[in-house]
Symmetry: C2
Subunit: 438 residues, 2 copies
């Protein structure tokens, strides 16, 4: 398998040679302790400063708003742990007593959001409400008002920017505007603890424009691994402490302006720095490229369908133009129009299509790896039927993918479906009886 057979860029992106080389150089030269006066320490500090600038430039904020974390999961955990402390301190200082703080998250968040919040609920530290997903696949952000009216002590609302399974983009900007207005009307003059807005943008960076000023959130999580960078994360915090209250998850020698202690991962910061610069410079080219590829994919998946009377490809998401979905990903299901015409229909429904394709040397995401053993909440909400869910794949392209790769994938896909459904060896006898043309 080489990268031309890889269609799972939504799960992980390769690290470009230039980024690898930046990390290599940093490993060689920036190994000193950042508090040391040795050239190795001084260079390490410079690399961190440069990295912070690159991330802040990409997100359109100041470098002071960026805290490096080991991964997006740490970033998300930091936000929810911090907000819980913020509430506890608020109640201590103001003498407000009583109920637990109330968190609102969408039902399609990454496990590092869902599990963190559920664990807190389980420990009876918080109350949680979930924002549901509309049939279109986007989170019903405006329904947050119902929750704010029902609970008087909401502290945070968190909705991911782009969904990992479908690429559907949520209207976090409207959510943030709504919360800002709510805070203004209800939470000023010590009338209550203002509500903060968080978005997990791990799947959005590099696949859409992300401008924290324009979106208007208080926290935003990014992941190097999903944006042609290395294993490292960063957390945007709108003017930490000065405007946005923040408490560290990891305490210690006070690195990252006291917001995240622990030896900085300087080489990975060097890599993320370059990955951000590349994402910023190449965003138009990348988006165009992804758009061309996935449009072609949508087209030929239909035209190359060998049994249009038997199968239909159902694309799970809105592909009607405009930026409703990140252009690098297409979530699709094989819909069976006429089961009677498929001799091996039971075998088809029992087949793990991603596994079957991997046997043909093709790597594709079956679904998000994040919900093992659970049905995908977003696809269920979008009305993907039980049968269709089994036959759903997540096709995603990257900078390296070319039109030829897409065509080879589509050919291999239909070839495989044909093989499973009309396996001549198994059905030759029955086939001859029924006169199937396989």
């Amino acid at each position: 398998m080489d990268s031309s057979c890889y269609f799972d860029f939504q799960a992980a992106t390769p690290v470009p040679t230039d980024v690898v080389n930046a990390i290599y150089l940093s490993l060689k030269e920036d190994w000193g302790d950042t508090s040391s006066k040795s050239k190795y320490g001084v260079k390490a500090k410079e690399t961190i400063d440069r990295g912070r600038k690159s991330v802040s430039k990409l997100l359109n904020c100041t470098p002071e708003d960026i805290v490096f974390t080991s991964c997006a999961s740490e970033g998300n955990n930091t936000v929810f742990n911090s907000v819980l402390k913020y509430w506890n301190n608020y109640t201590k200082t103001t003498g407000v007593k009583g109920e637990n703080p109330h968190f609102v998250i969408s039902e399609i968040e990454h496990p590092s959001v869902i599990e963190t919040v559920l664990k807190m609920e389980n420990e009876k530290l918080i109350t949680v409400s979930f924002l549901s997903v509309q049939q279109s696949g986007v989170v019903d952000v405006l329904s947050v008002e119902d929750h704010l009216n029902m609970y008087k002590n909401t502290v945070i609302v968190s909705v991911m920017l782009a969904n990992n399974e479908t690429g559907m983009i949520n209207d976090v900007k409207s959510l943030a505007t709504l919360i800002k207005r709510f805070n203004l009307n209800n939470r000023t003059n010590k009338k209550g603890c203002p509500i903060l807005v968080h978005t997990d943008a791990a799947q959005a960076i590099g696949k859409m424009h992300v401008d924290v000023q324009s979106i208007g959130v208080d926290f935003l999580t990014i992941s190097g691994k999903k944006m042609y960078g290395p294993s490292i994360g960063a957390l945007y915090i709108k003017s930490p402490i000065k405007i946005t209250p923040i408490y560290p998850l990891i305490y210690g020698a006070g690195q990252e302006a006291g917001l995240r202690s622990g030896a900085e991962n300087v080489p990975m910061i060097a890599g993320l720095s370059l990955a951000c610069d590349m994402a910023m410079q190449g965003i138009y080219r990348d988006l165009d490229h992804y758009d061309t590829l996935t449009k072609h994919f949508l087209h030929i998946m239909e035209t190359k369908n060998p049994h249009k009377d038997v199968f239909e490809i159902q694309f799970n998401g809105e592909f009607t133009g405009g930026q409703k979905v990140t252009p690098n990903v297409v979530n699709f299901s094989l819909k069976l129009l006429d089961k009677m015409q498929i001799p091996m229909v039971d075998e088809l429904l029992a087949t793990d299509l991603a596994q079957k394709l991997s046997e043909r040397g093709i790597c594709i995401g079956k679904r998000s790896a994040c919900y093992p053993g659970r049905p995908s909440p977003i696809l269920s909400a979008m009305g993907v039927t039980r049968d269709c869910l089994k036959l759903t794949l997540r096709f995603s392209v990257g900078r390296e993918t070319c039109i030829g790769d897409v065509e080879r994938f589509v050919d291999a896909y239909w070839d495989m479906i044909n093989d499973i459904c009309f396996n001549t060896k198994q059905i030759s006898y029955i086939g001859r009886i029924f006169g199937w043309n396989v």
Copy 2:
């Protein structure tokens, strides 16, 4: 400045070329998601498995006992947060009510231990006792019994294995034995919550034999950055969950057997893996090498002293043989025998010697960078006087250091002291009057 002028290996070690290359290769090949079936994902999983084996081999435990963390600080934070939850769950399950859990730590722990614990105490979640340091520089581990008798709800005792400022080795083995006996006599048959023992071994790995079976601790923290590895940490947990209760600090998609969620830093694990193999294979050679260098240093620092009637070098630690100190580090102070004979004594006491040496291209640790603005607790306990504290340096050698480097350091050191104390330009007039031979 090149590495022959670097004597701050205690703060950070360079990353050896082989380790850099291992990381480089992993960046190129192991970038897939570990749950993916692509070759990039499969290779990533293999690299993690190999890394876990290497760490466990070095520490003499099973791979299942190792959890990768982003750094030693995260490892330490994980332990204390976990133990707090362990107590809370214990009281919930048993119906035991009342007081906060009691933590015992030494007064010379790394900030990622001290700050974490103090923050919890500040939030009135725990009670803390500190083990003091004896004049010899080692923690008085046996005094833990007084604390255990005074508080009935001790949950954890944490003492670092080797101290970062002096290299003094603490008798964690005796501490663990004592706690084990105490648990056996006092905490079995539901008589109470057993006490766990943690040691921060960040400064010990690669500088002494570390065998978790022999030491007998429940938790042990390691840091790649201090042992010729990259920026990554690992936490030893004695049979996690099965024997030792453990709760994650970071929740999410359940990586690291559910004990530490978040995308694994595969390339850094590849580097740590090789660093562990190298530390294991080379430990005898390294220790011998360090021993030779520091013995020579101790010797020539005295013999090359140009004013034996004026100065004395005070070595802060026990260097009487046996493994009481890690052999790569010597903490030493310039002791003034006769201030009257030093014309520029005030300037000397006002000088930052490490800074002054860095102007001469030499990098050395003034003291641990971990206690900015605070007096070093270990040196104070060892009776280093106020004047001496100001004139204290931490000399540490590495694999790259040779005898010639040590000699050049000692020459430069005395040359600098001479310059400051008997600065001919400034004292030529006074000197002539008093007849000083400068």
